[in-house]
Structure formats: structure tokens, C-alpha cells
């Protein structure tokens, strides 16, 4: 379960130091999307700290976070959980293998009018 | 002909409250370090004038180490903070003049760190021994 490489990556990318967390739960106390989430902001921080990252990667919670940054604003220790959520989200997006959109599918979906930009962003969005 | 083993001469300035006590503790615990190290007791590391350090080199020292309380632990509250700035600038200047930077060192050693004192001295003596004799800050008149 321990994924130290990914853990380091997440910490580096997010700039968050989960060890600063004192488990007060203010992030979760303030989170407007709390009810929608399987894993709550304080759990993100705790699970990254312990290296228990796999469940987070596979959780819908990633996409429930609104990135409203209330937790970032309110955290008394400056841990900034939303940045960590974002980092896990990016990690999931970058994960290969279970892409829902394959490059081969693209020609059939696009026509002359489709702007390049749209293709690129669609590819990014759906190939998680 | 037998080649005499090179023994460096090391002068260690130790503050009375932490490092000198640390050196005493090293003694209490019978922790060995080379006899090349000779300690001079000063009330605080901030008593050490750059002139003393240069004087030691002039008189034939091969290395000079300055030991004081850890920052924040100074018996006199702030002495070692001044030491830190003075020595950073002095050492940087010595380096600028092309003098081996390894010959000078500042180390914070508390009264509880007998082991650290001995380890530091062992390391410093090894470093200076590897450098060899001090040629760049010597005064030939003082050589035997």
C-alpha cells in the first residue's frame, strides 16, 4: 500500500508538507463538498502522509473537490489540503492504461471544423 | 631514512559554558581524539578575535577550530550569533586570498555533546592532516 515514490512526487508537486497537519479537521469542517466526498480533505492529507494513496487515486472524491480553497484559507497550519487534492488529481490524470479515449478514436470524432485546441483539451480530459 | 609522520597542530577555541564543558565530557567518557588538538578556554565564542586565529596560523598552527554553544543556547544570549557572522566573513576572506578553507571551522558543541566534540576533533584533524602543513599563512621565523 505504501507508494513512497508517488508520495514524494505529490509532496513535491503540491508544495504541501502533510507533516505540518495537526489533525484539527478544520478543512473538513469548512468543506462545502464534504457530503459528496468519500475521502474528506483531512483524510487526503493523512493518507498522503501515510502513503496510502491508491484509494485516493481511484476515488471519485478527486472530482468532487471544487477547488474553492476554503480549506487552504482556513487551515491554521498552512497545510493547504486543496493543493494536495489537485496533485492527486493530476497524478490520476497522468495515469496511463485506463484511458477512456484512445488516440485512434479521434479521427472519427473530429471533422474539419474542430479546432486543434479542443482536440487537445478533450484528449487531456478524457484520457484519465 | 625514516619519514616522520606528519602531525598537524590544531588550536581549538572553546567557550567556557558549552564547548569546553563538551570537551570535558568527552574526557569523562574517555572518548579519544588526537593530542594534536590543544584547547584554549574563552568565556564565549564571541571573545575570539580574528587576530587570534591569524596569530595561531602565524605561530605554526595548521588548523584553527572555534567551538561555541548552539545558536540560541549562548550563555550570554547572543554572543555566538556575532561569532557566526564574524567567522563567516573571515573564513570567506581567507578563502578569497586562496587559503585552504578547510583549515578553519566553526562548530557548535553543547555541554552534553562529548561524543560530538570528539568526533568533530577527529574529523577536523583528519581533514587538516590530509591538507598537510600550513604553507599559505605561515611565518617562517616561527618555524623551528
Amino acid at each position: 500500500m505504501n507508494n513512497s515514490f508517488l508520495q514524494e512526487e505529490l509532496i513535491r508537486e503540491s508544495g504541501v508538507n502533510p507533516r505540518k497537519c495537526m489533525r484539527c479537521g478544520k478543512c473538513s469542517g469548512t468543506c462545502p463538498a464534504y457530503e459528496e466526498m468519500e475521502y474528506h480533505p483531512h483524510q487526503f492529507v493523512y493518507m498522503v502522509e501515510t502513503g496510502d494513496i491508491e484509494p485516493l487515486l481511484n476515488s471519485e472524491s478527486l472530482y468532487r473537490c471544487l477547488s474553492c480553497f476554503a480549506c487552504v484559507e482556513r487551515c491554521p497550519r498552512g497545510v493547504e489540503p486543496a493543493k494536495l487534492v489537485e496533485a492527486v488529481r493530476l497524478a490520476a490524470v497522468r495515469k496511463q492504461g485506463n484511458n477512456s479515449l484512445k488516440a485512434d478514436d479521434i479521427p472519427s470524432l473530429s471533422d474539419e471544423e474542430t479546432p486543434q485546441q479542443l482536440l487537445v483539451s478533450a484528449f487531456r480530459k478524457y484520457s484519465k | 631514512m625514516q619519514v616522520k609522520e606528519y602531525k598537524p597542530l590544531i588550536v581549538a577555541f572553546c567557550c567556557n559554558w558549552c564547548s569546553y564543558a563538551g570537551a570535558d565530557l568527552a574526557g569523562n567518557n574517555r572518548l579519544n581524539y588526537p593530542a594534536d588538538v590543544k584547547i584554549i578556554r574563552v568565556p564565549c565564542s564571541c571573545r575570539v578575535n580574528p587576530m587570534f586565529i591569524l596569530r595561531a596560523f602565524q605561530r605554526g598552527a595548521d588548523g584553527v577550530i572555534l567551538c561555541g554553544c548552539h545558536p540560541g543556547d549562548c550563555h550570554y544570549t547572543s554572543g555566538n550569533y556575532f561569532t557566526r557572522r564574524r567567522m563567516a566573513l573571515l573564513f570567506s576572506m581567507l578563502d578569497f586570498l586562496g587559503i585552504e578553507r578547510e583549515r578553519t571551522r566553526v562548530e557548535w558543541v553543547s555541554a552534553a555533546e562529548g561524543a560530538k566534540f570528539a568526533a568533530t576533533m577527529n574529523d577536523f584533524v583528519a581533514t587538516v592532516t590530509a591538507l598537510g602543513e600550513n604553507k599559505r599563512l605561515e611565518d617562517l621565523r616561527c618555524k623551528k
Partner: protein, 341 residues
């Protein structure tokens, strides 16, 4: 008079350096300095070297003796050794004259054996100044830049070097290079001398005289109020004394080495506040007094004791080097002149 082609210069120097150390002025990025000649070193045409050649005979620092201590025992060590022969080549007329000033101090009884030793082994080869500069005023002291003294005088023309021995030691030196030189007539040299005289007449300080100075002028000069204004900006550094070819004051000090003592002497400067410090303190407590001392010594006290010889040779180094541009010329112009005395 002998001559040798300029193109044979290096051969000449090699010959001279064969059995004596040869020093001559060499250009560096920081001005001309005397250096030991070795193949490849080029003789500089510069008029003044940074430091005067006095240090060949009276070095800035020299050990006089030593003591060795062990516990409570002490042993005296004579550190003197016989100096090896050396030649100082390319000395200008002013600097050459300075040796006379120094000799009168060091070689009169009791003789300074350290100085005498060096003097006995050094040969001075002078060279005439073809291009004197604005700071030159050797004429004031009766020195002829076209007729330099020393053991051997040299004139350097476009093509040749002309040699003339002035002393037996000079004769010996010319003897040594006889094979490289040939007998020559003096016409080219005379032409050069004339040329030099023309330039000397153009020099800005040509009219500077010693009028108003001399061994009998102590009372007339000592209390002059101008000393105060003249010395106003003096920093009390030792630049003028250390670049001066005639300043000969020194201090004797002991240096404890840990295993003994080295007794050495080093140049001192009357401009320093701790000059001739004694048990009671210093003789001259203010910079005005110290400043006055230096010039009174050169222009009054020294001539008083040395048959009217001034201890300034007009080399102009102090004019060029003083940090605040105060110098003997300004002093002489302010205090001297016929009308003032």
C-alpha cells in the same frame, strides 16, 4: 669611453650576470621596478622606478641578530653573512646621488656594518636621463641628469650604449665586459648631453632653488606659521619617506618567534606618530611637528651636519606618490626664496 651596440644588450647583461647578481628596472603593469635580470627581462626606459634603489643597500627590513631561547637559557646568534657581489644597473643621476647621502649617515663612524657590507659588494651603473619629466628637480640640488655618477655611467642612444668608468670598481666592471665593447669617441654622448640640457631648461620646476635653506636656517624657518597650512592635509602616512631615496630612518624591533627572538630593523617614518617613541612618549606630538621635521631634516639639519649637502636629490617620487599631493617642492616654494631670508 667604451661603447656597445644596443642589439648586443642581452649578451652584455648575460655577461654581467655571470658572476654577480644583476638588477635592473623592468616595466610591469604597476610601473617600473628593479628586478633580478634573467634571460628575457627587458631593461625599462622608465625614468623613476616605483621604489628607489636604496633598498639594495638599506633594505626595508633586515635581521640584525637573533636569540635562541630554551627554557631559561638564551643564546645569541650572529645572523650576518657576507653579501655576494651584485650590480644595480640603470640607476638615474638623482638616485645615484642618494647613495652619497646615505653613505654619510651609515659609513661614518661608528660604521653600519650591514650597510657597509652591501655597499662593498654592490656596483652601481647609472644611466643618463634622456627624457626628464615634470616632477624632476635634481637641478635644484646641483645634479646633472646628463652626467650621472656611480661606478659606471651609461648613455643610451638610439643605437648604442656608451660606458664611462668613474671608480676603480667601475673600471673592473668595464674590464669584465671589455670583449663586448669597443673604444668610442664621445661625440654622440656630447650630443645627447646637449639635448638633455635643452629639456632640462623646459622643466616646470627648473627655477626651484635652495635659497632660504641650508644648515644655518634653523631659527629662520622653525617657527614659520606656514608649516601649519602646509601640513594641514597631511595624513601622516609613510609614503613619501618610503619612496624617498634618501630617507634613512629605521626602527629596531624584536620579534618573538616562540623559540627565540629575531632582532630586526625596518624603515621607519618621521611622519608616524610612534616614530622615535621613548619612555616619556614621543618627541613630536602633532602632525605639524612631524611634517616640519621631515623637511627641516632634508633642507636644514642634514646640510648642517654634512658640509651643506641637502638630503633631497629631486627625484620627484614624493610628488607623484603623495596621497594628498603635498611635497617638498610646495614646501620649498612656500618657505624658501631669496626674499624670505
Amino acid at each position: 669611453m667604451r661603447k656597445c651596440s644596443l642589439s648586443a644588450q642581452d649578451t652584455l647583461f648575460a655577461k654581467l650576470a655571470a658572476d654577480a647578481t644583476l638588477y635592473l628596472p623592468v616595466d610591469t603593469a604597476d610601473g617600473a621596478t628593479y628586478q633580478k635580470w634573467e634571460s628575457g627581462k627587458v631593461w625599462s626606459d622608465a625614468l623613476n622606478t616605483n621604489k628607489s634603489p636604496k633598498e639594495f643597500f638599506f633594505p626595508q627590513m633586515e635581521d640584525l641578530m637573533a636569540f635562541k631561547t630554551a627554557g631559561k637559557t638564551i643564546e645569541l646568534i650572529d645572523t650576518r653573512s657576507e653579501t655576494e657581489d651584485f650590480i644595480v644597473f640603470g640607476v638615474r643621476a638623482c638616485d645615484a646621488k642618494s647613495f652619497e647621502v646615505l653613505d654619510r649617515v651609515f659609513l661614518t663612524e661608528p660604521q653600519d656594518s650591514y650597510y657597509a657590507n652591501r655597499r662593498a659588494h654592490g656596483t652601481i651603473v647609472t644611466v643618463a636621463c634622456t627624457r626628464p619629466i615634470e616632477t624632476c628637480f635634481c637641478q635644484t640640488f646641483g645634479i646633472d641628469a646628463a652626467e650621472p655618477q656611480g661606478d659606471v655611467s651609461v648613455w643610451k642612444t638610439e643605437t648604442d650604449l656608451y660606458f664611462n668608468a668613474n671608480t676603480p670598481r667601475g673600471e673592473a666592471l668595464l674590464q669584465k665586459i671589455e670583449g663586448l665593447t669597443e673604444e668610442a669617441d664621445a661625440s654622440a654622448v656630447e650630443a645627447q648631453k646637449e639635448q638633455i640640457q635643452k629639456v632640462l631648461k623646459k622643466l616646470p620646476l627648473k627655477d626651484l632653488t635652495t635659497d632660504g635653506f641650508g644648515g644655518d636656517k634653523t631659527e629662520a624657518l622653525f617657527d614659520r606659521p606656514e608649516w601649519k597650512t602646509l601640513s594641514e592635509a597631511c595624513l601622516g602616512c609613510g609614503t613619501c619617506t618610503f619612496v624617498c631615496p634618501t630617507c634613512q630612518c629605521y626602527d629596531i624591533k624584536d620579534f618573538s618567534t616562540g623559540n627565540g627572538v629575531v632582532r630586526f630593523r625596518c624603515w621607519d617614518s618621521c611622519m608616524y606618530s610612534d616614530f622615535t617613541k621613548m619612555a616619556h612618549g614621543n618627541n613630536r606630538l602633532t602632525q605639524v611637528e612631524r611634517f616640519r621635521q621631515r623637511f627641516m631634516h632634508k633642507l636644514v639639519y642634514y646640510p648642517a651636519n654634512n658640509d651643506g649637502l641637502y638630503s633631497c636629490v629631486g627625484c620627484g617620487r614624493c610628488l607623484a606618490k603623495c596621497p594628498i599631493s603635498m611635497n617638498i617642492v610646495k614646501v620649498m616654494k612656500t618657505l624658501g626664496g631669496k626674499e624670505t631670508c
